[in-house]
Amino acid sequence: MDGSHANAAAAAAGGGEGTQRTLNPYVTGNSVIAMKYKDGVIMACDTGASYGSTLRYKSVERIKAVGKHSLIGASGEFSDFQEILRYLDELTLSDHMWDDGNSLGPKEIHAYLTRVMYNRRNKFDPLWNSLVLGGVKKGPKGDEKYLGMVNMIGTHFEENHIATGFGNHMAVPILRGEWREDLTFEEAVKLIEKCLLVLLYRDRSSINKFQIAKITTEGSTIYPPYALKTNWGFAAFENPSQGAVGTW
């Protein structure tokens, strides 16, 4: 997952006085799931940020709009995400100041972030995040949907569906099986909720408070936080040690 590559590098990085470091993250956000659908891109995550094993902050927004055409979602160290948002503010501001009728699309933002993440990693001073960048912008072939991700070591790619953190293991297999090019908004939400629920059951650091966001040619919408119903009504759950005492 996120930490393993950098920990191996940390062993090699001596770091003298004043040189920087490969740190441990302190306040961390969980998985982000995203996919393209018929009208654009949909992105979701929970609103929690953990402090080690403590579920410390429960109303954190980890998906934000960037410019007119993109959404960014982040997992990993929250302070680094806040800093990245400041960099993106600078970027979108100078883009706006050009006043040339053009504005940065998701592909460009993704490329910018990739450079930032990779160069920091080369200095052994990473921004400890996995970032998901999604958006829609008019291109030569009409409205082009874009979805990509970049992580703390600079690995980056584009895909029809993305999940970070635990979502890589739990949500991606579901998405690979059930994603289609022409999902309606309703179908996309149902599919994303299926993934969010599985993460809620199986990821220790997830909480039952989610935010879904979408971006289309009309613009971005981040919906208010909500919780999902969970199902515990299996007969096998009620008395599992009946047939085998001591079982777990």
Binding site: Y26, V27, Y51, G52, Y57, S79, E83
Partner: protein, 243 residues
């Protein structure tokens, strides 16, 4: 990843090592401002170096900060922020906002994250947004919250706050609440203790309060303090344990 080891214990020899404020710090918004509260124990390893420290430091007339983690780191951070805010106030001609003060704290905490162990809660009142509380934990994240807890003693308060926190308390309710909350943490956290200090900040100004250790409420398995066993015996009918 064990975050608790960062706040509480130290692997140094039991009576030497860096001064740490094990600490319980709390900040709550009420319907006219904020109340900040903290315990007063500073320890070096197992020894209590200062049993009456003041962990709530002034940044400006209207903004204070609760400090937890390394005593030295948080003192230096508050000194720098006080200095910057003083200049900022002169240049702008009006009191600094709570948002600006907390973002300065965040800037120092974030940019020096590899060298600092400082968890802080910034609270204050300004004419634009009223009472505000900002949490700046390890790493330099900044989050505005209706209430915040921090320090090693805060581990014992998450459940309590989930259960008992209400929005829109009066000043008296809020002050009573934070004293109760900090004293409960002191009861269970070895790294917290001493007195409970509170600072109430609102449109009318700042009020500092002092709640000595012997005036705090008693909790489970704690006994009413006495002057001596002799007094108990003299009172007759003591609870005889062994004949």
């Amino acid at each position: 990843m064990d975050a608790s080891s960062l706040m509480g214990s130290s692997s140094d020899a039991p009576t030497s090592g860096e001064h740490r404020m094990g600490t319980t710090i709390v900040g709550v918004c009420y319907n006219g401002g904020v109340v900040l509260a903290a315990d007063s124990r500073t320890s070096t390893g197992m020894y209590v170096a200062n049993r009456a420290s003041d962990k709530i430091s002034q940044l400006t007339d209207n903004v204070y900060v609760c400090r937890s983690g390394s005593a030295a780191d948080t003192q230096v951070i508050s000194d720098y922020v006080r200095y910057f805010l003083h200049q900022h106030t002169i240049q702008s001609g009006q009191p600094a906002t709570v948002k600006v003060a907390s973002n300065l704290v965040r800037l120092l905490a974030y940019q020096n994250k590899s060298m600092l162990q400082a968890g802080m809660i910034v609270g204050g009142w300004d004419k634009y947004e009223g009472g505000q509380i900002y949490s700046v934990p390890l790493g330099g994240t900044i989050l505005r919250q209706p209430f915040a807890i921090g320090g090693s003693g805060s581990s014992y308060l998450y459940g309590l706050m989930d259960h008992e926190w209400r929005d829109g308390m009066t000043q008296e309710e809020a002050e009573k609440f934070v004293v109760k909350v900090v004293s409960l943490a002191i009861a269970r956290d070895g790294a917290s203790g001493g007195v409970v200090r509170t600072v109430t900040i609102n449109a009318d100004g700042v009020k500092r309060s002092f709640h000595p250790g012997n005036k705090l409420p008693l909790w489970h398995e704690e006994l009413e303090p006495q002057n001596s066993l002799l007094d108990i015996l003299a009172a007759g009918n003591p609870d005889a344990m062994v004949q």
